[in-house]
């Protein structure tokens, strides 16, 4: 009898052990409703009179150089300034179909080794030397693996590899090697409404990404809806955070995702301490009904911990798209597409 009892306990403990293996840290889905701190920020507009920007989408800096990427400029995608004064230097990255020209710039990354730019329509990432800012030189053009289908954002994984979001719906992101080939594929779209991953779902879940190799943190934020994902590429943990507007909403038409619901995030930056995001929250119904002149951009910067805890909600006095965070000086430089003086600086309050 005693031996039977010990065997039963043994089975119970073992079953609990099996269950605990299934409940590991890899898929923790949590909703957030509010932020610990809600602050209004008022920005200082920096003059950039020497160059007319049409649609400044991204802003990055490295040492004393800042680059603004203009998504719809008629001539050049990239515009260089001094940092932090934002005195205009030059424009480069000519729009066009010629070999060294750019069809569709998506994002840029700046390092000590120069600048990297993604061209989605040419399906390539170009590394440019910035030693002479007035004559940047294409050092290397990396043609991307066709199986990526379409690369709409990228981050630097290390000296030679990249992280690129998945477009097929079969995964969440890929690690790409220095030759542009897929080295590994990771994750799945964490949709609760749609179980089958396909291109349409991937289009709706199109995300902006950033990766910080210091803490191995990859953050993805959805352009539609309000979903933040955090992957730790060292210990393989995965956190999903869904905000009040929920996951991306769309209608399917001919295999294409037609956005409905809301415009969500438009930029993300992972620092050593936090994850900074730009959030819009405007419905497409509202966007469609908007009178001229139309306001475009997000009014909020949401700050999360590296574990996805919602910490700070900053409400801005401008509508912005891209951000560049400087935690050392506690400043965020942003770009406002609605203004002829698009660079707006905010002082962070923690």
């Amino acid at each position: 009898m005693e031996k039977n009892k010990s065997l039963s306990w043994y089975c119970v403990v073992y079953c609990l052990f099996i269950i605990s293996i299934g409940c590991n840290k890899q898929n923790v889905n949590l909703y957030y409703n509010s932020f610990a701190t809600d602050i209004s920020l008022f920005g200082k507009t920096l003059g950039t009179d020497s160059v007319m920007l049409r649609y400044p989408f991204r802003i990055k800096h490295q040492d004393s150089l800042a680059i603004i990427m203009d998504l719809h400029h008629p001539d050049y995608f990239y515009h260089a300034f001094t940092y932090p004064q934002f005195r205009y230097l030059t424009s480069f990255g000519k729009r066009g179909q010629a070999p060294e020209e750019i069809l569709s710039a998506e994002n840029i990354r700046l390092t000590e080794n120069g600048m990297w730019g993604l061209d989605a329509n040419k399906h390539q990432i170009t590394n440019m030397s910035m030693q002479d800012i007035y004559q940047p030189v294409n050092v290397k053009e990396t043609q991307l693996d066709k199986e990526l289908i379409r690369a709409l954002d990228f981050a630097l994984y290390d000296d030679s590899c990249f992280v690129i979001p998945d477009y097929s719906g079969n995964h969440r992101f890929h690690i790409i090697d220095k030759n542009g080939n897929i080295r590994s594929s990771h994750g799945k779209i964490p949709s609760r409404k749609h179980q089958k991953g396909n291109i349409t779902l991937a289009q709706a879940w199109r995300s902006f990404i950033d990766y910080n190799p210091e803490n191995h943190t990859l953050a993805l934020v959805t352009q539609l809806g309000e979903v933040l994902e955090i992957y730790n590429l060292k210990d393989s943990t995965h956190i999903v955070k869904i905000g009040p507007y929920g996951e991306p909403e769309y209608n399917e038409s001919g295999g294409m995702a037609i956005p409905s619901g809301i415009m969500g995030f438009s930029d993300v930056q992972v620092t050593d301490k936090y994850i900074y995001t730009v959030f819009h929250g405007r419905s497409f119904k509202e966007i469609a009904q908007q009178q001229q002149p139309m306001t475009d951009g997000g009014q909020y910067i949401y700050v999360f911990s590296l574990e996805g805890d919602p910490l700070y909600k900053y409400t801005l006095d401008h509508f912005i798209y891209g951000i560049d965070v400087n935690e050392r000086t506690k400043e965020i430089y942003t770009v406002d597409v609605n203004s002829n003086q698009p660079v707006v600086k905010y002082e962070l309050k923690y």
Binding site: K3, L7, Y10, C11, Y14, I18, I21, G22, R54, Y55, F57, L71, H72, S104, A120, N121, K146, E147, I149, R150, L152, S168, N170, H171, S185, I199, T200, Q203, R206, Q223, N251, S253, G254, G255, M256, A257, I258, P259, S266, F284, I287, A288, M294, D296, Y321
Partner: protein, 80 residues
């Protein structure tokens, strides 16, 4: 070896097999590599429902048919 010990060994062996099975399941990678999938994807980009997909303005939405960045995307029935 008495019957109870034999029973323990059998149960332990079965549970070990179950554990190994769960570990194997977790390591499975379902990546699909198939050129045919890519061909189907290109076909799906064309609207098969008789609907027009219209991409309007300039913005940041990736227009699935034009591959340019637009402000708004909508569909309408061609019969309207």
């Amino acid at each position: 070896m008495n019957a109870m010990n034999k029973k323990k060994i059998i149960v332990t062996g079965l549970m070990t097999m179950v554990l190994l099975f769960f570990v194997w399941l977790k390591k499975q990678n379902n990546m699909v590599e198939n050129d045919l999938v890519l061909l189907n994807i290109e076909a799906l980009a064309l609207n098969e429902n008789g609907e027009y997909v219209t991409c309007l303005g300039i913005g940041t939405l990736d227009c699935p048919s034009l591959h340019s960045k637009v402000y708004y995307i909508r569909t309408f029935n061609g019969k309207k």
